[in-house]
Subunit: 358 residues, 3 copies
């Protein structure tokens, strides 16, 4: 299925030569000499693309879709080029999904600000808004805030006093950001909450809680993206920092004074408690969580729903709640399974006594 | 306790005959001949209702509340009618909660649009808004959007360009919807996020992430409800589809290209990863999650906090993380419990050796 | 690091004598006689404070930071005063974090309303707004709502018809509150959702769901705080009640008719199902959840990611999913670990047979 024209106007048909030049890819050897002159209308999934559309094949396990595809051209690896159906053009890439992304963006360029100002926006007198930034309906820009070149504030975006947005940031509807400095090309998806007070308070002698003033801020590196309705609290003293290029999915919670390195991936509904440090390229799968004040080493991968309660070495795979090295967790799951005779005779459990000797 | 008049004005006292006719229920045999002429002021819980109010009894385990109830009339099953206190009327129903819902709605009709337009709404020139739709303060309706008859956009609702709302949809405060087509009578609760970009990106050779353009949309079937601050991402290529009548609770995450059947129930904080398919009437309890690209069969029930990592057969009950058939999970929990002697002598564990033989 | 002046203007340098008087603390015996006349500029973390700043030391395990601190004064316990570096003043407190909070607030007083009204707010004609309440840009105050003295409605706050806010409440950006009565000094953080319809519906004979009218409201006690994007549904019949001083973190879900006592602490992403009761001072760690219709006794502590499926006695510590007393859960975890030989010889598992005898 191609992009729904109702929502994605696109820029219209493109010559294949233009798309190849723009994406740095090339046709397979032996392709028709005039193929570059063919016009394509857009991109689509392999199983749904038509003869005027371009699709992609990331891995061999999609071959069945390839054989029956009506796609006019397919981005794929050189080793898969031989599988392409007759009449379909093979665009060769060592990273098909990446090349396909580039081609898709040629049809549907990422919007950038062009200086639109809705008459019903509230921009403070002391705010500095780049001439080419877009400010949507009912958006708010606080006193002293700085909005960089090419930024887009969608309707109902709220940018608090003093907040700095680097060039090309996009603040979607209903997102709010306060007490924060954003780098270049940061994206806040709808309803994202950046910079609010962290969860810090102290009990009094008579059992009440007194908020500890949360006097830090949030620093979001270049190209960071924060998902819909996700939350990043500002630091208590010092900052909460999200490293360059880190991607945060919807409904993730990031507590005060958390620091992440570059290129981390935090899947939906992850929770990170205060003052924990994630080094570069840490990946946490959906609903995983980590306690406060620990460090997860570079490149570590934390499984879905895992609960990390201590430091994690670099490069480790962790699973379970409480989390432990994946290998150990999987062996424990298997051991527990062996405690219970399976109901189906076909998979009869080995005698427990025998397992003990292993 | 009756509905708080501060928030629920209601339409005032009603004759019982009107309520019975409107709900399709009937009084128990032997009720006073003039009971239909009695006026009732509203509904309330069994334990708190007064003589001018109507309550209900779903099941026998509530009998103790029935015996002491001061309610003027109670909706209950025929087999429970004999338990009703003296002076209280018995309204007979095979589905008391359903009948009670109908009666409650007669007192408090579901609001529908009547053509109110707040002067501080931002309605694009090319949007098509039904004459009888309500548009609240600071609501936004984008270019080319279509708002059906009787819709209500509460204050701060944001409906993006091209979005289609069928008849009678209700968009609550701060909800946003983009790249989506909604059927009839869809309800988006406050802060719900529909149609934003999914979590799709590709690593580059130098370790950056490039967003894969998310060119699909969201289709919400008739009578779908999406809870407060819940998120439904649009498809990457092709659509994210929520089937007719499916109910999604607060803070649920639904990834791109997920498809649910009709009548599914997703309780609060559930997470569904991309491209997973739920067939009709699947139920997922609170905080349950499922990985991407799997299929959960019709009528399957997934327990609270379960983590589904593979296909689930139709009608199955699954528990645990990783999830497995409930029967197996419960047996494993029991087996693990037997590994540890209980601290209280009264519940002394059976010798482990003995368990092994079972 | 001191508070970022970009976001926290503060009130400027203060004499130590003023800070001590305002916080009820005192210098250690033997401090210089003229110390009270020294001016301080603000507060900072122990490791980052400079000679004009005040920091604190809660516990002895922070001693290493104390030894190297350049802080001009440190709030600490009497028993730690001897560890203070030369030239640094010791402010004695039995509760250092609490005293530090008081001092921080003297530098950065909690804002209170002063009667600001943005010209682009939508305040209903019948609303009663205290003269000294602040109403931000695009805020909405519904018909019949009451806004108490000193309240602050940040931009895009939505207060529904009939809602009551006690004195000194703060409604942050994009928070919405309907069908609710708030006590004094309640704080709703950005995107919090209070009072929307709960998840209540009844199946019909033909498989559809009919919403059961949700006719209750929400009552938030004095000093309650609700985190960013957290949700509190209104009662179905009767109210959802959050007791005085209870702190609710981001992305927490509280279902209809839940009741919490005073001083509960619900950490991020906790989920509480309908009609469950938490007595006073219950603490639930991150991502913990509890089923509906149970009671958690006063002072009970529920561990992170725990899943409570039954009543919990007062004062109990519970862990695991399904949750059980922490001692039992920890012993089971240990028992399962012993089922699997460790891969590292250095931590060789004890023979399983031996364990059985314990």
């Amino acid at each position: 299925m191609a992009a729904n024209a109702r929502f994605f106007a696109g820029i219209g048909p493109q010559h294949l030569a233009t798309l190849l030049a723009g994406s740095g890819a090339a046709l397979a050897e032996g392709s028709p000499a005039d193929a570059g002159a063919r016009a394509f209308t857009g991109v689509a999934a392999l199983a749904e693309a038509g003869p005027d559309e371009i699709s992609y094949l990331e891995a061999a396990r999609h071959n069945s879709a390839l054989a029956g595809s009506r796609s006019g051209a397919v981005v794929l690896r050189a080793e898969d080029a031989g599988l392409i159906p007759a009449g379909c053009l093979a665009i060769i890439s060592t990273a098909p999904a990446l090349t396909f992304s580039h081609i898709a963006k040629l049809f549907h360029p990422t919007p950038t600000g062009s200086g639109q100002r809705h008459s019903l926006a509230a921009i403070a007198a002391t705010a500095q808004v780049a001439r080419d930034a877009d400010i949507g309906a009912f958006a708010v820009v606080g006193e002293g805030a700085e909005i960089g070149s090419g930024c887009i504030l969608h309707p109902h975006a709220v940018v608090g006093p003093g907040v700095v947005l680097g060039e090309g940031c996009v603040i979607h509807s209903h997102a709010s950001v306060s007490h924060a400095v954003l780098g270049r090309a940061v994206v806040l998806h709808p309803g994202a909450r950046i910079g609010q007070e962290g969860f810090g308070f102290t009990p009094t002698a008579d059992g009440r809680f007194i908020t500890m003033p949360q006097l830090g801020s949030v620093v979001l590196g270049d190209e960071v993206e924060i998902g819909a309705n996700a939350c990043v609290d500002r630091g208590a003293l010092g900052d909460t920092v999200i490293g360059r290029g880190t991607r945060v999915d919807n409904l993730v919670q990031i507590g005060h004074n958390v620091q992440t390195g570059q290129g981390c991936v935090l899947v939906a509904q992850v929770g990170i408690s205060g003052s924990t440090i994630l080094e570069d390229r840490v990946q946490m799968a959906g609903q995983a969580a980590v306690v406060g004040h620990v460090r997860i080493g570079a490149g570590a991968r934390i499984g879905a729903q895992a609960g990390v309660i201590n430091h994690v070495p670099a490069g480790a795979d962790y699973l379970g709640s409480p989390a432990q090295p994946a290998r150990q967790e999987l062996r424990e799951i298997a051991a527990v399974r062996r405690l219970v005779p399976r109901s189906k005779p076909a998979v009869a459990a080995k005698p427990v006594a025998e397992e003990k000797g292993s």
